[in-house]
């Protein structure tokens, strides 16, 4: 079995079977992420489709010295989902969802697959002080600006920035060699 970096190298060369394998590996994680951000299955499908077409066309721009393949695609798909969230002017609903359900797995009648990494990340989040966890979750999933997070939480802007920094550093520490 190929590793993710090798698959991306083959995708760069136009290898469709590598693209298919990369999709199988990444799509559940990315679909879960963009669905959580958008809370709309059809829109999430559109983002997945656009995102993977971008991976196919732009695989050559991947820089292995800068990030792992998983991080590269996660940040691309997150960015696309947040762009779409902002564009459809339903940001306030997104904010409510992210703020109220910081670590919840949506299921809406559909069984949500669990895995060890997900459980470890959720556990690491749970270990953060509540205000840091909320700031981190809002920053990652909601598409809110610093100012909006500040207004939403009632904390001064400087406090929000400090919470995000401390929360992210602690999260890195808690995740260790994950």
């Amino acid at each position: 079995m190929s590793d993710d970096s090798e698959l991306l190298e083959r995708i760069k060369a136009g290898d469709e079977s590598a693209f298919s394998e990369f999709y199988d590996r990444m799509a559940p994680l990315l679909f879960g992420l963009v669905f959580k951000i958008l809370n709309d299955a059809r829109e999430a499908e559109d983002v997945i489709q656009e995102g993977f077409l971008m991976v196919w066309k732009k695989a050559a721009s991947y820089d292995s010295a800068r990030s792992s393949p998983s991080t590269w695609v996660t940040m691309i798909f997150r960015h696309k989902a947040i762009d779409r969230l902002r564009a459809r002017e339903r940001r306030s609903r997104g904010m409510e969802r992210a703020a109220l359900e910081p670590t919840a797995c949506h299921d809406e009648g559909e069984a949500v697959l669990q895995n060890e990494v997900g459980a470890a990340v959720r556990a690491a989040l749970e270990r953060l002080p509540g205000e840091q966890r909320d700031a981190i979750v809002a920053a990652f999933f909601s598409g809110m600006t610093q100012l909006e997070i500040s207004e939403k939480t009632g904390a001064p802007l400087g406090t929000v920035k400090a919470r995000i920094r401390r929360g992210l550093l602690k999260l890195r520490e808690h995740l260790g060699g994950l």
Partner: protein, 226 residues
């Protein structure tokens, strides 16, 4: 050793929370400071791991089938940039196209395709959907690989001062037509670039909308074709 302020800006940066000039200045600093670049990379890995907290979700199987049907062989980077020439050739065809039988236009297109000159250019003819005379008509030259095209129109009345003609692309991947923007009739033709990726341009339509256009079509369809 980085100070807290720099760590703070790096943390905001990985979440996309730096904007405008602040983001630009941070990017510059990151490029010139290897320690900062390493820190940002670590923070990005940590931030990306949050995706796992959402829980995996299996996409519908038809989504993968659709994607695999859409990917095309990668074009070698050394291929010359032929688009301007090809579009110019296309327009040369179109310049006389309005008086031609459609089949003749198609034959010319096929002949050009055999020479691989216009292999990625799709031609669509649009007919008037409104009563009256003379009948409006349009031809669209669409390059799916470049996601851009040209529309040439004839016999179309000028829209009112508070209206614009707007072009739409019908792609079965989307529930609604894709907005390809408003166009003006000064010289009878205009270039366009749809606002979403178009995977399969099945049909094109022109509607009459309020000045500046609409995000989703509201006005009457005046031209339609494929």
């Amino acid at each position: 050793m980085m100070d807290e302020q720099l760590e703070e800006r790096a943390s905001l940066y990985v979440f996309g929370l730096l904007e405008g000039e602040e983001a630009r200045r941070f990017e510059e600093e990151r490029r010139s400071n290897p320690e900062l670049a390493r820190f940002v990379a670590e923070m990005e890995e940590t931030a990306a791991s949050l995706a796992h907290a959402a829980g995996p979700r299996t996409p519908p199987p038809e989504l993968k089938a659709r994607l695999l049907g859409q990917i095309q062989p990668v074009v070698p980077a050394r291929r010359p940039d032929w688009l301007p020439w090809a579009l110019a050739a296309c327009l040369a065809l179109l310049a006389g196209g309005f008086g031609m039988e459609c089949s003749r236009l198609q034959r010319q297109l096929e002949a050009a395709r055999e020479q691989d000159e216009l292999s990625q250019i799709r031609i669509a003819t649009l007919d008037s959907m409104v009563q009256g005379s003379p009948k409006g008509v349009a031809v669209v030259a669409w390059d799916g690989a470049r996601q851009e095209g040209i529309i040439k129109v004839q016999n179309m009345p000028r829209p009112k001062a508070d209206q614009d003609y707007q072009l739409w692309v019908f792609d079965p991947q989307y529930r609604l037509p894709v907005n390809a923007g408003v166009f003006h009739l000064e010289d009878g033709r205009a270039s366009f670039k749809p606002q979403q990726p178009v995977h399969s341009a099945d049909k094109f339509a022109v509607t009459l909308e309020r000045k500046g256009g609409e995000p989703q079509h509201k006005g009457p369809v005046v031209l339609l074709g494929n």
